[in-house]
């Protein structure tokens, strides 16, 4: 039975460190006092009324004494939370169907690998609109590759914070970031160890994007309008992509070894692409050609592997097994050196183009909640296989998986 015991012991290693004696004594004492007070009150009532009464004596208890109420979404506990499977954002006025229970507008909630969902109340809710209307006020989160840390913009702190979910350790960025800098589409990348956090946004505006060393309390400026998709473990080399209006790659090196922002190399690509995060190994990036037209937003397209520094196409394959005719596809976390996660979001306007947004009274309806399916896409063969994980979300921008994000 050794392997099973080993696995169970491994799981048990994730249990929190606790110190419960004094809290248990406090709860007991409070219950005892409350119980005694109720008995006294009941006795008085019986004497005064001269009647026989049935009295229910219920011990009191704070919220902490109680078990989680089924169906209710709890706020993220200060510590002792297991690794995350994903985070997603909720808008509560879907044009069809229902919003999830306990919905909070623009708010993020996180889901652990064990299936427990929590409100991430610490994070700024997004106020940018859906339905084709963009506006300033995005809020994103980023999850470390192991799911154990999450980064978000904390309105109380006026800047970004990184939270270790198990220990509850909270690290605050050394510089304030005004909300107005967050843009209408922001992008965050959190390094595997949670030490480095990259923040960029669109539109570029004049406000700085930045790479933050949360441990040492240092900041380096980054170019705006780019999406960070890869960062070396030492935080010194960053890969970024731009998908609009044209596709570009940029590699920044020596980010912390020079007084300014280091060296950079930018490559313009001849076609338009949707990018994966930087592949394991740090030299390759996968991308799907973006052949969307005004009349057709779901056009099957080949998958390429390109050199992340030079943009040179290393391999080009046809994709099989992905519903590209009916879904938007987004490339996300790498599952192995050859397989990347592909998320497929249903797009009912594939053949008709996106409908124009009618002018009407606020609040505008939000997108419906739809099931996003995940696939493992082999970049060598182009073959996709369906994964068990599905997500009920409104849009791909509002769904964050562990690890570096892709772009589009």
């Amino acid at each position: 039975m050794t392997w099973l015991r080993g696995v169970l012991a491994d799981i048990a290693d994730d249990s929190p460190h606790v110190d419960l004696a004094d809290e248990a004594i406090r709860i007991y004492e409070r219950r005892r006092r409350t119980g005694a007070a109720l008995i006294a009150a009941a006795t008085v009532a019986v004497i005064v009324l001269g009647a026989t009464a049935t009295v229910r004596l219920l011990p009191g208890g704070s919220e902490k004494d109680q078990v989680s109420t089924p169906g209710r979404v709890e706020n993220l506990p200060a510590k002792g939370v297991g690794p995350l499977s994903h985070a997603y954002r909720t808008f509560c006025n879907p044009i069809t169907g229902k919003a999830p229970g306990d919905c909070r507008v623009g708010a993020w909630r996180v889901v652990t690998t064990a299936g427990q969902t929590y409100h991430l109340d610490q994070a700024l809710p997004a106020i940018n609109y859906h339905d084709g209307v963009s506006g300033i006020g995005d809020s994103q989160v980023a999850i470390s590759a192991d799911g154990g840390k999450i980064a978000y913009y904390a309105p109380k702190a006026g800047t970004f914070q990184v939270r270790d979910l198990a220990s509850g350790q909270l690290t605050t960025a050394p510089v304030k970031v005004p909300r107005a800098w967050l843009g209408s589409i922001m992008s965050l990348l959190l390094s595997a160890d949670g030490r480095f956090l990259a923040f960029t946004k669109k539109p570029a505006l004049d406000d700085p994007a930045m790479l933050i060393d949360m441990r040492e309390g240092m900041v380096r400026p980054l170019p705006n309008g780019w999406n960070p998709v890869g960062l070396t473990a030492d935080g010194d080399t960053m890969t970024m992509v731009d998908y609009s209006p044209k596709s570009r790659l940029q590699t920044m090196t020596r980010l912390w070894k020079t007084a300014t922002a280091g060296n950079s190399r930018t490559v313009n690509l001849p076609k338009n692409y949707r990018f994966s995060p930087l592949a394991p190994g740090g030299t390759m990036i996968a991308a799907m050609e973006n052949r969307v037209t005004q009349s057709d937003s779901c056009v099957p397209a080949p998958l390429v592997q390109m050199d992340a520094k030079t943009g040179r196409i290393l391999r080009k394959v046809e994709v099989r097994g992905l519903p590209m005719n009916t879904h938007n596809i987004s490339l996300r976390t790498w599952l192995s050196p050859t397989e990347v996660t592909a998320l497929a979001e249903p797009n009912q306007f594939c053949r008709t183009g996106k409908p124009s947004v009618p002018d009407g009274p606020n609040p505008r309806p939000d997108p419906p909640y739809e099931t996003v399916t995940s696939y493992a896409l082999n970049v060598q063969t182009g073959q996709a296989r369906k994964l068990p994980a599905t997500y009920r979300v409104q849009e791909l921008f509002g769904l964050v998986l562990p690890g570096a994000p892709g772009a589009l």
Partner: protein
Amino acid sequence: MNRNDSFREFVATHQQSLIRTAYLLTGDAHLAEDLLQSVLAKLVGRWPKVARLEHPEAYARKALLNQHISWRRRRTASELPSAAPPEHAYWTEDRAVVRIVMRQALMRLAPRQRAVIILRFYEDRTERETADLLGCSLGTVKSQAHHALARLRELAPELAPKFEELDQLAIEEARR
């Protein structure tokens, strides 16, 4: 040493072991803490009697198991949008993959079956000890363990080779 000091000493000694079991039972750190906290809060009131028992720790463990099983109606997953986490990143070691798969499978067992698996295979309790702790018969423990292992095998087909090793060991154990 007053009664609270004695209780504090007991908790300091055993809480980490108990929270590990609670975590395996609930699969959630917050719930595990709630579970153990509620058990300890009840234990304080009975401490003068419990402290005189030969194995107060076994009493606490039994209370933990009973409390967990009594939570079964209240403890429903509020949301399970994902059947599984996105498959594991390339740097994840095999051991971590097994751990995640097993944790998910474990959480899908009925509370009593999960308790049997944890007592038998994590705490290395005998069938008799397991039956005593759960307050059920030896036969119930045997059948629950059998059904729980079969269910785990269904829920975690990725671990089939590991379960085969387990079968072999069980056969050898039975022969001895």
